[in-house]
């Protein structure tokens, strides 16, 4: 009978939802929250924020035509455009009067908040439940930029793309802003009342019929709360769903240890690594640590032999792009290969399939490196592979050295989404609390969760967006962003972090703790109280407040690291079923928007996917062979069918992809994801089978349609040029100067002009080590966050107008089936003989005394000549007014130290000049020179493998100086005598003689 009541509501719900998203956020409220944001240093951004008529006028006079244009297709601003143009004309009349501007000081200025000086707070965010420590930059209580916390074991100072993008999500105007009751705007007290009274009846039922669904979590506080609830109501049930997590990983670990455990690897001791379709450098709770350790082992400049990586995977992953040997096999064939490898390494494994000769060589190599090798199973491989991998590691004596069993930090005894669906359908659930995730969208189609959810009498949904699930929930409560609330979480190694808010909830969002506390009959407790109380309760030591303060300050809680535990009794490898499919469909979270929770994040949508460089949609990866067989080329739409259900999507032919396999990506095809993420791409969940969620038997048929992909890199090969220069480890030992061996760089004296410019003071330069660049693209998005780079949208990307200041070029070489894959990050080269500067008629781009190639937006008239004459094509042009000057909530997000660009001006990488200037001012005040490492560019700071180094080339001890002195250092296109300040270190791979040539 609920359906009947819910259905009519839906119509209104949609309208409501659309209206509520269309309504501009209440800037008054925002201002209240940001009361701090009224300080003087804030004049710049806040008065933009206060977009008064004077301001618009003022802006017009300073940046004529600023509000001139936004990308096509947005009509509600047409008036503004016209206004802008007329004002722009006014701007032409050189002499214009500055309008009146206001200063809005504090009434009571908070302690230690000094206008103009940013503060950094330690906190953490969670990915699939595991913590990643962060330092968040706050300008007058507005979080503007996220950095990794160097002291946090799971971050080491780096982050992935998601942490970087999270600031945009915080200020996303599409976030739900009010409590909704059956689609109508309600308020929090009404909700609290309703849930409290519901709690009464639940109590009456001893919790019977109460179902609580959370995401994967490691939060001690949340677990304490849940345990309390389960204790007071034994019949209640806790379900956990995380679409991007394969439960087999956990179950395998638990089986091996005989208890709750986590398998951690130590790459700093590994000489040979075999990846069984694992993207260990880019995904998983410890990816950043692994990347750092792996990169260190791959370092060759001290003469040690670099780690050798064998990647066995169906489609090239970020980690796979660094592999020395690459075996492209179907995902479903990997268990068999794992077993063969196990057998060859002396593990008693059931016979599995025909021998793959390649495996023998790998096994031999592993045997050579007992105790210093790692076999790492894929995140989405079945339990058998995880067990086999551990068995191999055990057999090779890696356990204890490179492989560790740690106490698990995730809760035990929780139920899965399948259980929930069954319970719902069985009518066992009356009250359903969905405290995370978006199951109506992100559940395998076979569960038909949309049907199941209607069976519950009361569905409460806590979420940041009014999305697919909210539409079917009786109550929707806006969820607080992690930067808005208190919580806690633990890293893969157990280390706990107390997550502190950087800003009051912008839209009165609630945390999961604040919902659960209602069930615990303490509805008024704030997150802060709950979290603090929980820690206080569990704290044995003396001065709690001191511990609390230091923990907050450091971003970690001492003594919380998990203990190493011994393995339980050996687990026999289960026999394999007829695993290998004739044609398999592989399901993976999208490389940028993940499981779909990031769908409304413009930065992630526009971030080129590491392998394909496609933006704004998910494609179907197919192998070159299948492409030939079906005459498929980039953009051809195919129909993917898995037991009866099918979706259509454009293909992308991926060299190095396994034949007989197609990889499709979750996270797209959202129907309720706000203005950015709705209605793009196909929804892979719609054909996902709960039984075989990650690889399924299926079919792929060409439909005949073709679409244009928003692809930022059309050319796949290096076209007989050598932007990336690579060598074998053996060659490198003989010719350490291999990158410049063929084309020696142009002699400096080869010029008509006497060089009158000597860079005596500072001399900034950058060095990028191609050998350890995984192409994860964190640098691109960190740059976007630091430098207020605009999002241009799919149409503009398709026209070749994306704005990234640093792009990651990806080249293939060798044969089509198993090619070499190279990644090359390309920022501005800051050439000493910059071709762009010479051709600018208004001196809008000139060199600084320190050799920076400065781009002066406010002087630029937009001839685009500089870009034409830039051999590296690193310049980006504002063809329209790309920067969003209209959306109020966005103003808070911008970095106040970087101009927001207007229409018609050129922009490009500035080496993060704002950071350079800040450092110079600080050191000048202290009367000293800048030390190496004191300035980190955004891309350098975020890089998980530390592939980018930046510094003063006049400082002989600077890392960058040393790197540029290396023999494998070379400048891109330096035969043009542009004398780039950004140089590269050649790529060296350490392949196995036994297999040489087989990797292509």
């Amino acid at each position: 009978m609920n359906e009947i009541t819910v259905f009519p509501i839906l119509q209104e719900q949609q309208q409501q939802q659309e209206e509520s998203t269309r309504q501009p956020v209440d800037i008054g409220a925002l201002r209240e929250k940001l009361a701090a944001g009224r300080g003087p240093a804030f004049w710049r951004t806040l008065d933009e924020a206060a977009e008064t008529p004077e301001l618009t006028e003022y802006v017009e006079q300073e940046f004529p035509g600023l509000s001139g244009q936004i990308p096509e297709g947005v009509d509600r601003r047409s008036l503004l455009k016209v206004m802008a143009a007329s004002l722009a004309m006014a701007g032409a009349a050189a002499c214009t009067k500055q309008p009146k501007e206001l200063i809005v000081p504090y009434v009571r200025q908070p302690e230690n908040v000094i206008p103009g000086l940013p503060l950094f707070y330690a906190t953490a965010t969670t990915t699939n439940g595991y913590a990643r420590g962060l330092l968040v930059e706050s300008h007058l209580n507005r979080p503007t930029k996220v950095e990794g916390n160097p002291d946090h074991p799971a971050s080491l100072g780096s982050t992935t793309i998601y942490e970087q993008a999270s600031t945009l999500s915080l200020y996303d105007p599409d976030r739900s802003q009010t409590v909704m009751k059956e689609g109508r705007i309600s308020n929090i007290s009404e909700f609290t009342g309703a849930l409290s009274s519901e709690a009464q009846s639940i109590a009456g039922r001893k919790g019977e019929g109460l179902a609580i669904l959370t995401g994967a979590t490691t939060s001690p506080t949340l677990m304490a709360q849940m345990n309390a609830i389960l204790a007071q109501w034994p019949a209640a049930k806790w379900y956990v769903h995380e679409p991007g997590v394969n439960p087999a990983v956990k179950s395998a670990a638990n089986k091996i240890a005989g208890k709750n455990a986590f398998i951690a690897y130590d790459f700093s001791k590994a000489d040979v690594v075999v990846s069984l379709e694992s993207d260990f450098l880019n995904s998983g709770p410890a990816a950043l640590v692994y990347a750092r350790q792996f990169a260190a082992k791959r370092g060759i400049d001290k003469g040690q032999e670099p780690v050798r990586l064998y990647a066995i995977e169906s489609s090239p992953s970020v980690s796979g792009s660094l592999a020395d040997h690459h075996l492209a096999v179907k995902s479903s064939a990997i268990p068999a290969i794992a077993y063969q490898l196990a057998a060859k390494c002396g593990v008693s494994a059931p016979a599995a399939g025909a021998d793959v000769p390649w495996v023998a060589a790998v096994a031999a190599d592993l045997q050579k490196h007992k105790g210093s090798s790692i076999v790492i199973p894929g995140e989405f491989q079945p339990e058998s592979v995880h067990l086999a991998a551990y068995a191999i590691n055990a057999a090779l004596g890696n356990v204890g050295t490179t492989v560790k069993l740690l106490e698990g930090v995730e809760p035990e005894g929780t139920h899965s989404l399948e259980d929930l669906a069954n319970d719902l359908n069985g009518g066992h659930v009356e009250t359903l609390l969905i405290l995370a995730g978006n199951p109506v969208y992100a559940a395998p189609a076979t569960l038909n969760f949309e049907g199941a959810i209607k069976k519950a009498r009361m569905v409460v949904r806590l979420g940041q967006y009014f999305d697919e699930t909210s539409r079917w929930s009786h109550w929707h409560v806006p969820e607080a962003h992690y930067l808005e609330t208190w919580s806690d979480a633990r890293a893969f190694d157990g280390t706990a972090t107390i997550m502190q808010p950087l800003i009051e909830p912008l839209y009165a969002g609630k945390s999961v703790h604040e919902i659960l506390t209602i069930l615990l009959a303490k509805p008024d407790n704030s997150s802060h109280d709950i979290v603090k109380a929980n820690w206080q309760a569990g704290y044995k030591g003396g001065d709690f407040d001191a511990m609390w303060k230091t923990s907050l300050h450091n971003g970690t809680v001492d003594g919380t690291a998990a203990a190493v535990i011994a393995a339980g009794p050996a687990v026999a490898l289960p026999a394999l079923g007829t695993s290998e499919a004739n044609f398999e469909i592989v399901f993976r979270p999208d490389p940028t928007v993940g499981d779909g929770s990031w769908a409304n994040n413009g930065w992630l949508q526009e971030l080129p996917k590491p392998q394909t460089k496609v933006t704004w949609e998910n494609t179907v990866y197919v192998s070159t062979r299948d492409a030939e067989a079906q005459k498929l080329s980039e953009g051809d739409v195919v129909k993917i069918t898995v037991n009866g259900k099918s979706v259509t999507g454009p293909v992308f032919v991926v060299p190095g992809h396994a034949a007989g396999s197609a990889t499709i990506f979750l996270g797209y095809g959202r129907t309720n994801s706000g203005h950015v993420g709705t209605g793009i791409g196909y929804n892979a969940y719609a054909i996902q089978d709960g039984a075989t969620p990650y690889v399924a038997v299926g079919a792929m048929v060409k439909t005949g349609d073709k679409v244009k992909l928003a692809n930022t890199q059309e050319m796949q090969t290096m076209a007989d040029r050598a932007p990336v220069r690579a060598a074998e480890w053996t060659e490198f030992k003989e010719h350490p100067n291999f990158p410049t061996a063929e084309e020696p760089s142009v002699p400096k004296e080869l010029t008509l002009y006497p060089n009158q410019w000597t860079y005596e003071g500072y001399k900034w330069g950058m060095s990028i080590d191609l050998n350890i660049c995984t192409g994860c693209s964190a640098c691109a998005i960190a740059c976007q966050a630091e430098n207020n780079i605009a999002v241009v949208g799919k149409d503009q990307v398709t026209r070749g107008r994306h704005m990234h200041w640093i792009r990651i070029d990806r080249y293939y070489s060798g044969n089509l089936d198993t090619p070499e894959i190279y990644n090359q990050p390309v920022p501005c080269m800051h050439c000493e003989n910059a071709p762009c500067e010479v051709v600018c008629p208004v001196a809008a781009t000139v060199h600084s005394q320190e050799g920076l190639n400065q781009m002066v937006y406010n002087r630029c008239v937009g001839t685009r000549y500089c870009s034409n004459n830039c051999p590296y094509k690193v310049r980006r042009f504002n063809f329209y007014l790309y920067s969003d000057w209209q959306t109020e909530s966005m103003w808070g997000m911008r970095n106040p130290d970087v101009s927001v660009r207007s229409r018609g001006v050129m922009e490009k990488c500035s080496y993060c000049v704002q950071r350079i200037q800040e450092a110079k001012i600080n050191t000048e005040k202290q009367g000293r020179r800048i030390r190496d490492g004191e300035i980190l560019t955004a891309c350098q700071q975020v890089c998980p493998t530390q592939a980018i180094s930046f510094g003063d080339l006049n400082d002989p001890n600077a890392k960058v100086t040393k790197q540029q002195a290396l023999q494998r250092n070379y400048g891109l296109l330096d035969d043009l005598n542009t004398r780039p300040r950004t140089t590269y270190l050649g790529y060296v791979k350490n392949s196995n003689e036994a297999l040489r040539g087989q990797r292509g």
Binding site: L752, Y753, N755, Q756, A834, V838, C840, A843, V846, H847
Partner: protein
Amino acid sequence: MSEVKLSEHPEIHGALVEFDTPEDLIEACEKAYSAGFRKMDAYAPMPVDGLAEAIGYKKNKVALCALCGGIFGAIGGFSLLQWITNVAYPHNVGGRPTNSWPAFIPITFECMILCTALVGVFSMLAMNGLPQPYHPVFNVEAFRRASIDKFFLCIESSDPKFEPKETTEFLESLGGRGVEIVPA
């Protein structure tokens, strides 16, 4: 010595005679010149070689002015650029020296051409006393064809030898047609 007698016939601009071909006109001019007349002017609907010389016109200063203009333009242009790049705001542009003189040549050249042309043309107009919409010779109806197909010689009253009667007779003796007194 012309100014001596200027005021003698204030009401008369001069005497005008009409010819059909440039050759006749030149011949007449030479006669008049040898007869001692100096203050006279010949009018033709198109440039006629030797006509100006025939009435004793020698030095033409237009070229000189144009030359000066050119020199001024070249020097001005080049020094402007040097000043901009070395004095006004010296920038490091693509590693090039502030004095990148080869790059300044095009603009220098254009400035030279521009000044040559403008100075030359304006000096021409100035020397010709143009614009001058009103001129006594227009008083003569027949003179209308001076811009179409007829050729005129006018001896002006400011000439010391000018005497209305004699001069008119003299002009008639030149074989021209329709000798007329041009009222001032």
